[in-house]
Symmetry: none
Subunit: 264 residues, 2 copies
């Protein structure tokens, strides 16, 4: 049970329809009841009897985590904080023994989304988890498989690949996710945001992964569509996607109104 055997599925498909949650608790009866309800509901769930490292939680690609602070012992607060800061998009629900106001406030301030006192009704816990996940879900890509065409390239989410003139760019999963994110946003994306949405957890300061993958992407884009540039750097901020053809005028204007030009 405590084993963190994580099947390494494809990288962050992010289109999951069934919620995936983990419960860190030791109350056998509670876990049993909860297990039944969750199974009946078709949620993917996993019961853990002790805290697991934040990295392991990342690998599980959870939507929500239910945590009994008592299980983590005196380091519970620290653990809570670490998990919340490392996985900003994870819904964290603390479900623990009766507590004081200041304890609850502290937990919420550290990043928990909700605090429930035991004993609690499993249906209420599930409703709270649903409420916490509801918003997070909204940010999953709305368009499921609609292809995006920009400049000379076409992005096909259903094939997990991008094409230029019907020729695949041979993007790796990460490269593809990065390209899809950039192409579906018409604004500057900060590195932290990119990392969080492609990698699925918080970027540590100084990580250059985004830069490196942008370079790899640009390389493949350039090879497939040399006349265009797609990914623009905003110094000190991040990157922005905008197909710009080399030969003609700079595509800077395309962002705002394409105002009519008159000779005069």
């Amino acid at each position: 049970m405590s084993d963190v055997a994580t099947e390494a599925a494809a990288v962050a498909p992010r289109t999951h329809t069934t919620p995936r949650l983990a419960v860190i608790d030791r109350d056998r009866g509670f876990l049993q009841v909860l297990n039944n309800r969750l199974s009946a509901r078709g949620w993917e769930h996993r019961m853990l009897s002790s805290p697991v490292r934040a990295e392991a939680l990342v690998a599980m690609r959870l939507n929500a985590l239910v945590l009994d602070l008592a299980v983590a012992g005196p380091d519970g607060w620290e653990y809570l904080e670490r998990v919340c800061s490392r996985l900003p998009t994870l819904a964290v629900i603390v479900c623990t023994a009766p507590s004081s106001v200041s304890q609850r406030v502290r937990g919420l301030r550290l990043g928990a989304d909700a605090w429930l006192s035991k004993p609690c009704h499993p249906e209420e816990l599930i409703a709270v988890v649903e409420a916490a996940m509801r918003r997070h879900r909204r940010r999953e890509m709305p368009e499921l498989s609609a292809g995006i065409t920009a400049g000379e390239i076409t992005i096909r989410p259903d094939l997990y690949q991008a094409f230029a003139a019907d020729e695949s760019l041979e993007l790796t999963p990460r490269e593809f996710e990065l390209l899809r994110l950039l192409a579906s946003s018409d604004r500057v994306l900060r590195r932290e945001e990119i990392y969080e949405r492609v990698w699925g957890y918080a970027m540590v300061h100084g990580d250059r992964s985004v830069d490196v993958f942008v370079r790899k992407l640009r390389q493949k884009l350039r090879a497939a569509s040399p006349e265009w540039s797609y990914i623009h750097t905003h110094f000190g901020i991040g990157y922005r996607f905008e197909p710009t053809s080399q030969g003609a005028g700079d595509g800077l204007a395309a962002e705002l109104e394409p105002e009519p030009v008159f000779a005069g």
Copy 2:
């Protein structure tokens, strides 16, 4: 720079928009206490003694709503549902008299983000509201990324850039943050305050950074929009933003919106 352990303070996101919330309740004492705490915290808030139409809530441009279901009477559930579906980006916290599990579950299912039982500690309520907003704010509000237009220039937060006649001013990140701060405050800002909000930490006495950046800003503004002056010096105090056209009268009028009044 002196860099006294400013580790995490690297160009802070500074999306520090003050929360705006409304409370629908009739408990005078509760409202009074809450009012004090919210004022101390600098939140914009408004106390309402009866439900208002969803349209009115939209106009208030709230981040969060605290609702006592009892105030809405027997139609409370319907009201809750209508508000939640009409304003999906609004954080809704139900704070009401003791209730049954099924009631709480029902409220959460209808779209509430949290359910608190009265009597509750105001700090806990605030923490719950914060937690709910934290999750919501991730999905950025459309109006937040809307640009500011002043005089001949347009400030586009989504592009981290300002434009004059669709031409970028080529502002650096700091210059942009400074301009955005000035332009979104229609009053004189002291240097210390500017420094604190743009740089993210306290200004040491005698630091001229703000002056230098104001100069750089003025230079770029002048190059892009020579007929106007935007940043005005208040000797011995600080700076104030106000677009003023050179030739004609001062453009004082165009600015003020008749938006609803909030305490704060």
